[in-house]
């Protein structure tokens, strides 16, 4: 297997490259997990107090509550949907209704768009029909022209999410409430990307677009969402208050008169706030999960962020051994995932050899069982590759969200088969990005939020997937699989995605160790709190009182 590590792509692969830059987004969900909620992960297994992979005990009919208070870990870097980082979409998606809605089971439901369909073959043209009863909070109607203007603004604003629309060639208004989005390359995930999870499909009103510089915490929001941001009741960096939008088209989805996002950066303080009823829902983490359990709070959790090693020098440019697939496979065999997962993540850690969670898009048992812990086999593979005495492996890692401790644990494991890992730790994202992309380290400690394969490709393993494909490794075989899957109808795409994931595992581009869960704590009688492998980040619009 030969890999090309060049910045320039052959012509026939340009479409892929454009899509890659489109979705560095994939990893934005890492940030969703790691930053926004401190939520770091999600999985498919049942929570301790809730149902399967999902929710706590709050069940029953929804009733309208007075105020929903949600603890968030960090203040918003923007409350403009066009420029908000994916990690902070909670601040925008309740005020700006999106074209589609990702439900807690992962399915894509109508929102501003009542229906949509791909036209022709190859998933390159998406036609949408909008509801005709949607109004912005200022009372003006939301129509196809407004949607086009909003999407065009998002494309031009160059926010981190604008990458999702990079392959869009035209947005044509075909009627008062219909429009057609044409793309230069297949994008089967566009309906999902237009959901509240990615912000780009959250529509800004024409009034808001007149002067986008005013889409800040000093002013009311300019969307058609269930709530309206109220600057008078908010203190930037401390709490952000939203009041019910009187013009909202679906009152049944408007469960509260007021929603407050309260910034609580300390996990223990957040837990205390939920315990004492000051806050209804909070993100959690492994350090407080036992307390939450003993306090009989509702806990929703699902594996979400895998951590381990990203073996980026697959061409052996800096570390010759890594250019040999047998060495990368040996690394995978040498890790006792069960032990490491248990030691670092406790009962909620889920050992993994794949970059996707069980039963999610791309997962297969064959790939999941590919690398049992087998140090003897690892040594044998190293011997076959000519490294019977091991070798030295420089590793970049970051002191953030447990990635550093995972790197240290893996280093110890690899030492047992003779691989002497030399870890270097940085403390900030910028140093991490720079060093992961300037070919100074052949391997990188990583935490990455699970994604559908199409999106993950653009963020993790396609040639332009920076910073995670730091050497821009290119495999024609992988790209061909990716292109086929992207253009395929849903029934065929699933199998192709499994093949793609299996290819990645067989070729050991990564050495994933374990998935860590994303946690949410809530009072017991809150309904609608659910996380699943296909929708690991909960949306507060689903939450409601049950009594």
């Amino acid at each position: 297997m030969a890999y090309v590590t060049s910045a320039s792509a052959p012509r026939e692969e340009n479409d892929v490259n454009r899509r890659q830059s489109t979705s560095r987004t994939a990893a934005s969900l890492v940030v969703v997990a790691l930053v926004a909620a401190g939520c770091s992960d999600a999985a498919d297994k049942a929570s301790s107090t809730g149902g399967a992979g999902e929710t706590g005990s709050g069940t029953g009919a929804a009733t309208t509550g007075d105020t929903l208070t949600v603890a968030v870990q960090a203040p918003a870097t923007s409350i403009n949907p066009a420029t908000v980082n994916t990690a902070f979409v909670a601040y925008t998606n309740i005020a700006y209704e999106s074209l589609t809605y990702r439900a807690s089971d992962g399915s894509i439901k109508p929102a501003v768009a009542s229906s949509w369909k791909f036209v022709g073959t190859g998933n390159k043209q998406l036609d949408l029909t909008l509801r005709n009863d949607v109004k912005f909070a200022d009372g003006t109607p939301l129509d196809a022209k407004a949607v086009k203007a909003s999407l065009d603004y998002v494309r031009a604003a160059k926010g981190s999410n604008s990458q999702f629309l990079a392959m869009v060639t035209s947005i044509d208004v075909t009627g008062p409430n219909t429009l057609s989005i044409k793309m230069s390359a297949p994008n089967p995930m566009l309906p999902e990307m237009l959901s509240q999870s990615y912000a780009i499909g959250s529509i800004i009103s024409p009034a808001g677009l007149k002067d986008p510089s005013k889409l800040t915490v000093q002013n009311k929001s300019a969307g058609s969402g269930a709530y309206v941001f109220d600057p008078k009741q908010s203190v930037a960096g401390d709490h952000y208050t939203y009041t019910a939008n009187p013009t909202y088209y679906d009152k049944a989805k408007q469960h509260y008169k007021k929603v407050t996002l309260k910034v609580i950066s300390n996990p223990q303080a957040a837990l205390n706030a939920v315990k004492t009823g000051q806050v209804d829902v909070s993100a959690g983490d492994a350090s407080t999960s036992a307390q939450a359990k003993s306090a009989k709070l509702q806990i929703a959790q699902v594996p979400f962020v895998w951590s381990g090693l990203n073996l980026i020098d697959r061409g052996g440019e800096v570390s010759k051994p890594l250019g040999d697939v047998r060495v990368r496979q040996a690394i995978n065999y040498a890790i006792d995932r069960k032990t490491v997962s248990s030691a670092l993540l406790g009962e909620y850690g889920v050992p993994t050899t794949t970059t996707v969670v069980k039963d999610a898009d791309g997962w297969s048992k064959e790939a999941a069982d590919r690398y049992p812990y087998d140090p003897a086999k690892a040594k044998d593979l190293l011997k076959q590759a000519g490294y019977a005495n091991g070798f030295e492996l420089p590793l970049l890692s970051i002191r953030f969200a447990g990635i550093d401790t995972m790197s240290e644990a893996v280093s110890s494991q690899l030492a047992k088969v003779g691989i002497k890992v030399k870890p270097s730790f940085v403390a900030d994202e910028q140093s991490y990005v720079t060093k992961a992309t300037n070919k100074s380290f052949p391997a990188v400690g990583v935490g990455y939020g699970a994604q559908p394969m199409y999106i993950m490709g653009q963020g993790l393993f396609l040639p332009d997937a920076l910073p995670f494909n730091g050497f821009r490794t290119k495999s024609p075989e992988l790209i061909e699989l990716y292109n086929k899957a992207a253009a395929a109808p849903p029934a065929e795409r699933s199998t192709l995605n499994q093949q793609m994931q299996k290819w990645l595992v067989d070729n050991a581009w990564f050495a994933p160790v374990a998935f860590a869960p994303v946690f949410y704590y809530a009072r017991a009688d809150l309904g609608g709190l659910q996380v699943t492998p296909n929708a690991p980040v909960a949306t507060l619009l689903d939450w409601h009182d049950t009594k």
Binding site: V30, K158, V217, G237, S265, A269, A273, K275, T276, V433
Partner: protein
């Protein structure tokens, strides 16, 4: 007194300027930058560079500082990179909370610290040793940990006070009081240890002096000797510690406001630092520096009031 204030001004102005420059340099030297915080890890290089340019982070450090200083001298501290809000507005909204927290904690620290110090010095024996133990405990315990313990006991277990949050006085005086009890107790009690120790040592030193023996020989009441003479003479050292306690409280607010989720400057300092929000960091540094130099002035005035030699 006028010369004292003049001297203070002569040192305060360059001090504020120096601290602002130092803070700017240090904040800029912290690895990472606001552009990456805003763009996220996955942002393509061109987008990251565009944000850097928009925020003028591509300009030389001295040029950025000069621009900030020019604005500051005209009363414009700039805008928060993270929220877009003006720094002045953020400071205005939050300064009151921090001042209430600090003043409340100073009062608690002074009452508890001086009271325990005097008690320990006069009683000696078991009480003295007990005060020593309590003082050592206060010195050793991090306010952060102590705050979490108080929250666990008085908010979560016994639900007497709220675990987090701040209620403005205008909204509800009683809830305002409740929301401040635990944060003030955390900062005030841990800070009182320094005062207790200093007061005890100061009082014991004074009690050993000849003038106390003379006063006792003249038959003056012990209470008068203690409160009119001994405490007055021990006061300068205690006042010095009070000034230091105030400075310690400023840094203490950073942790305590985080633990109790108070919308003050300390909590803002944490989020601004995390987000590399230099204008906000600068604003907080200036406010804290001004507070420190003001307290130093008050300490000097207090010295002068207690000691005629200083006045002269």
């Amino acid at each position: 007194m006028i010369s004292l204030v003049r001297r203070w001004l002569l040192t305060a102005v360059p001090l504020v300027l120096g601290i602002s420059a130092l803070t700017f340099v240090l904040a800029s030297l912290v690895p990472g930058d606001a552009a990456r915080s805003i763009a996220g890890v996955n942002a393509p290089p061109e987008q990251y560079e565009a944000i850097r340019k928009e925020l003028s982070l591509d300009q030389p450090l001295h040029q950025r500082y000069w621009e900030w200083l020019s604005g500051a001298l005209h009363g414009d501290l700039g805008n928060s990179i993270a929220s877009g809000d003006t720094v002045w507005h953020q400071l205005q909204v939050r300064l009151g909370v921090t001042l209430v927290l600090i003043i409340g904690s100073m009062i608690v620290a002074a009452i508890v610290g001086i009271g325990l110090g005097v008690l320990s010095a006069l009683r000696g024996g078991f009480v003295g040793r007990l005060v020593d133990v309590v003082s050592l405990f206060g010195l050793a315990v991090p306010s952060y940990w102590f705050g979490l313990v108080l929250a666990a006991l008085f908010a979560v277990t016994w639900t007497i006070f709220p675990a987090t949050g701040y209620i403005p006085f205008s909204q509800s005086p009683s809830e305002w009081f409740d929301s401040l009890v635990l944060p003030i107790a955390t900062l005030g009690l841990t800070s009182s240890a320094h005062l207790a120790k200093q007061t005890r040592d100061g009082v014991l030193t004074e009690l050993d002096k000849d003038y106390v023996t003379v006063l006792r020989a003249r038959g003056i009441k012990e209470r008068t000797i203690i409160f009119k003479h001994v405490l007055r003479n021990a006061a300068p050292a205690v006042i010095t510690v009070l000034g230091l306690v105030f400075i310690g409280l400023l840094s203490g607010t950073v942790l305590v406001e985080t633990v109790f989720v108070l919308p003050g400057l300390g909590g803002l300092a944490v989020t601004a630092t995390t987000a590399h929000d230099v204008p906000v960091i600068q604003g907080i540094a200036v406010v804290f520096t001004v507070l420190v130099v003001l307290v130093n002035l008050l300490v000097e005035i207090a010295y002068a009031a207690l000691n005629p030699k200083v006045r002269a």
